[in-house]
Amino acid sequence: MSLLPSDTPVTLMDLEKPPEDDVLLRSLQHLITARRINDQAYALVRQGRLAVYPSSHGQEACQVAAAQVLEPGDWLFPTYRDTVAAVVKGVDPVEALSLLKGDWHCGYDPREHHVAPHTTPLATQLPHAVGVAHAARLRGEPTVAMAICGDGGTSEGDFHEALNFAAVFHAPVVFFVQNNEYAISVPLARQTAAPSLAHKGVGYGIPGQRVDGNDMPALLSVLGAAVERARSGGGPQLIEAHTYRMQAHTNADDASRYRPESDVAAWVDRDPIVRLRSYLTERGVLTDAIEAAFAEEAARVAEHLREGIDQDLKINFQDLFAYVYSTPTTQLEEQAAVVADELSREAAP
């Protein structure tokens, strides 16, 4: 089954059983906030207040759906591009962005909302998701792990090993590939010669499905069903969402070197927010008042983000040495003393 319409990308799929209106209203709210976070973060980079930001602008439906279909006890494994998914799962956006502000690597407590630290080495988080899910299963817990990666990430050896382990151990993992057609500058055609990335499930005995990654109801439906299959003993699931990276890889990237603007323009009409908004408006459940409330909430989050990122960092040199091991080695204590001595001499008149 594919929920990806080949030729009608600007409307939504006809789902037999579309998500309830209130669920979709919540999605829209998340989408609007998500977009706002993306754009705010982008602006903060331009202002030099964030070092870099890999935006999910245009991919927000994937982001929101990946988190929205999870229970609080489920685990999310995000990449560097999935800040917004982490936020929907509960992480404070200021904490989620502290890595990119230059503060400590993982700004949040992964155990609080069951969101793994965002992972940069591609596909390496996927075996972790299998481990978390397998451990939960051994303990009889109903946890599902949602493991995200990009189209580029599917080429790494760890993608292969993770899917195979999950299949062999029948671990409750949903592998969610956000196919945004690019890995930095490298287009999908250089990444795979397979008919789709969902076909990669076949070699592991994992059911694979494609879905329009800019169709919020379809995503909720497909990912929600996958999570429930995984939870109820159906083993791992592979979902490929076809979406598009609307901006450069990060603000440090220059996409004009490898793709024409016209390619991007073709995707503007498929914007997931526009599509969900018109769907809900047509159904008569989205009022101006609700829209206004959503916009206000998004503005509030953006302000919180701005303020949080503006906070001056308190650099504590001890932090360098405090977390390497649970008990610092004598070597690290000596090294910390070197810095302490330097700083005290600097501070001295």
Binding site: T124, L126, L138, F165
Partner: protein, 332 residues
């Protein structure tokens, strides 16, 4: 060494197996997995009987993929388990290198201590068994150079037990390097309390006053043998067994070298930028004024591990160590 009356003559393979069994008995979150560790009991039989005793959810075979094995362990450790994984041979841990360097070593630090990884990666390592290529690598330097890892290697059956139990109990990851050629060496051991110290402590294996031999893992018996031969020639060599490469026991090592004023470091691994270089450098930094001669290194040559019929030329042996000792400026 412990003065305790020992109860059983056991090989290192047996005490490692006992350590796993006892840890699994004491703590239901301890899991063992890897390649062929289940019904076969591992190619060295270190996990012998564990699947039969604890069931195959506690000790199980995985698909053949080392990065997957270590990655799975990371995830399980994130979620309440204490995985002990086996890499089948030293060189077959290399596919897991990214997981080890970028995750195992860094998870605690990058999450500011919020996610800890109590896990052990067991690696049979080093040579001396006539193994073919890729089965005899001394890979300790790769791990020892990586901040965030603890690197431990026993040289006796008693240490094998105590250090493996300590590694499994440790809140942080441990690379546990097992010298293959010592798997079958036997010793009287009292279990579970061998009297051996935990991770981070070196021990003096033999007292001596003229020079200090510093060794670990497979090189400890070489050092002891050298000291025995030297004693016949009238030279009193002290032998230190590091046991733990990271954390490094500066106090024990430096006290020893300051007392003798001379030191030889022995490792099987290639010398260049290896652990022997670190030992020589740090001992020199800390004991310079006590040194009558530069710290000498006797190491494997800087060549890929050679074929079986050539390995006797590669491995540091008694004569080569004695030559190094002879070089320690005795005329002064």
């Amino acid at each position: 060494m412990t003065a305790m009356v020992t109860h059983e003559k056991l090989s290192m393979a047996q005490t490692l197996n006992r350590a796993l069994r006892d840890a699994m008995t004491d703590d239901p979150t301890v899991l063992v997995f890897g390649e062929d560790v289940g019904p076969l009991g591992g190619v060295f039989r270190i996990t012998d009987g564990l699947t039969a005793e604890f069931g195959e959810t506690r000790c199980f075979d995985t698909p053949l993929a080392e990065s997957g094995i270590v990655g799975l362990a990371v995830g399980m450790a994130m979620n309440g388990m204490r995985p002990v994984v086996e890499m089948q041979f030293d060189a077959f841990a290399y596919p897991a290198f990214e997981q080890i360097i970028s995750h195992v070593a860094k998870m605690r630090n990058r999450t500011r201590g919020r996610v800890t990884l109590p896990m052990v990666i067991r690696v049979p390592y080093a040579g001396g068994i006539g193994g073919v290529e890729h089965h005899c690598d001394s890979s300790e330097a790769y791990y020892a150079h990586t901040p965030g890892l603890q690197v431990v290697t026993p040289a006796t059956p008693a240490d094998a037990y105590t250090l493996l139990r300590a590694a499994i109990a440790d809140p942080d990851p441990v690379i546990f390097l097992e010298p293959k050629k010592l798997y079958w060496s036997k010793d009287e051991v009292a279990l579970p309390d061998t009297g051996a110290p935990g991770i981070g402590t070196a021990v003096v294996r033999r007292e001596g006053t003229d020079a200090t031999l510093i060794a670990y893992g497979p090189s400890v018996p070489v050092a002891l043998e050298t000291a025995a031969v030297a004693a016949q020639e009238g030279r009193s060599l002290q032998v230190i067994d590091l046991r733990s490469i990271v954390p490094f026991d500066d106090a024990t090592v430096c006290d020893a070298v300051r007392a003798t004023g001379r030191a030889v470091v022995i490792t099987e691994s290639a010398g260049f930028a290896g652990v022997s270089a670190e030992i020589a450098a740090r001992v020199t930094e800390r004991c310079f004024t006590s040194l009558a001669a530069p710290v000498r290194r006797v190491t494997g040559f800087d060549i890929p591990y050679p074929p079986p019929k050539y390995e006797h030329l590669q491995l540091p042996g008694v004569d080569r160590v004695l030559d190094a000792v002879d070089d320690l400026a005795w005329e002064q």
